[in-house]
């Protein structure tokens, strides 16, 4: 996993890291490994984008584990936005970028609740404001 960003540390770049995780990589992981990878990234201040999202059971576990890790003044949870499942196999942007025409197209954006604010969402667009604080 790449380094987290820290504006106070001259050795790390000033910015917000975005991890785009392919469906292929997620397929090779067990449910709790996926959740751990997502939450480790979010704890580091990263925005995690999943090409194929999570199953309902995994979403339920993600909420449960997130709740167990919330701590005053340190971590107050996640923001998560997901496109609805699409019947169009190759319609996702990541699917086209990665050449994966078999995508289930359930792109999911997850970030730290204190850094990500959704400005707009519809069936074709998620617009998010990400702060560095």
């Amino acid at each position: 996993m790449p380094h987290a960003t820290n504006a106070d540390d001259p050795d790390t770049p000033d910015g917000v890291q975005i991890d785009l995780i392919s469906g292929e990589r997620m397929d090779s992981l067990a449910s709790m490994e996926k959740i751990r990878m997502i939450l480790d990234g979010v704890h580091e201040g990263n925005i995690v984008i999943l090409e194929e999202g999570l199953s309902p059971d995994e979403e339920s576990k993600l909420i449960e584990v997130t709740m167990s890790e919330i701590s005053p003044d340190e971590f107050n949870g996640i923001e998560i936005e997901t496109y609805p499942k699409s019947s169009t196999r190759d319609s996702s942007l990541l699917g086209r970028i990665m050449g994966n025409n078999e995508s289930a197209a359930k792109l999911t954006v997850i970030g730290p609740a204190n850094q990500i604010e959704t400005l707009h969402k519809d069936e074709t667009l998620i617009s998010a404001l990400v702060s560095r604080d």
């Binding site: 199953s55 576990k61 909420i63 005053p72 107050n76 609740a113």
Partner: protein, 212 residues
């Protein structure tokens, strides 16, 4: 009532229970914070058992532990169902204790947020393991298309649990039941005001129909 009659009635109740009743269905009341879940749970419990379940408040996460009211027998239109009502904390993906500091001291706000997170985690676990049906409560004056609502309905559907959507707070000026029906057209939406007791006849009719 004579001793013999009392004994006969008592034996009859026991045999009825042994031979005709199934275990009560555990019906979880789920939804976002401040949708009116506890107000509804209290309304149902008071109407059918005379007791309330828990405290109600305008402050989010007043319910921080799932609370159960057992053996609530509901009868409507010749249908009858016995349920255990499980009132759960409002589901969310984030809890910030500073949201409560306007209403209480910081220590109390921190304690409240910790209890809330434990309660939500518990409610999610129960949803996967321990409920037979779901009453999903939404504030009809709010936009129902949120990520949490979409995720929760998806989780409930994936478990093939019977679900009724209750569009609460129809007494509010901004209420729109149609907005909820349009958001989740695959499920039955029942309008109500748990606070004012509006449309509770249909609420009980649908509970008996869906969970009986």
């Amino acid at each position: 009532m004579g001793l013999f009659t009392e004994l006969k009635t008592s034996i009859s109740r026991v045999t009825d229970r042994l031979f005709t009743d199934e275990e009560p269905k555990r019906i979880g009341i789920y939804g976002p914070p401040n949708a009116g879940k506890t107000t509804l749970a209290n309304r149902i419990a008071r109407d059918w058992t005379g007791d309330a379940i828990g405290a109600e408040s305008h402050i989010p996460h007043e319910t921080r532990r799932a609370r159960r009211k057992e053996d609530v027998q509901i009868e409507r239109e010749g249908k009858s169902v016995t349920i255990d009502i499980v009132d759960t904390p409002g589901v969310t993906t984030k809890v910030d204790y500073e949201e409560f500091t306007d209403e209480m001291e910081e220590d109390d706000a921190i304690r409240r947020s910790r209890e809330a997170t434990e309660g939500v985690a518990e409610a999610m676990h129960w949803l996967r393991e321990d409920v037979d049906g779901v009453i999903y409560v939404l504030d009809s004056a709010e936009d129902p298309i949120t990520q949490v609502n979409t995720m929760l309905i998806g989780i409930i559907e994936s478990r093939d649990l019977p679900v009724l959507i209750f569009a609460n707070k129809i007494d509010l000026e901004d209420s729109s039941v149609k907005r909820i029906e349009d958001a989740f057209p695959q499920h039955k939406t029942v309008p109500l005001s748990a606070k004012e007791g509006e449309n509770m006849d249909e609420v009980y009719e649908k509970i008996a129909e869906y969970f009986g």
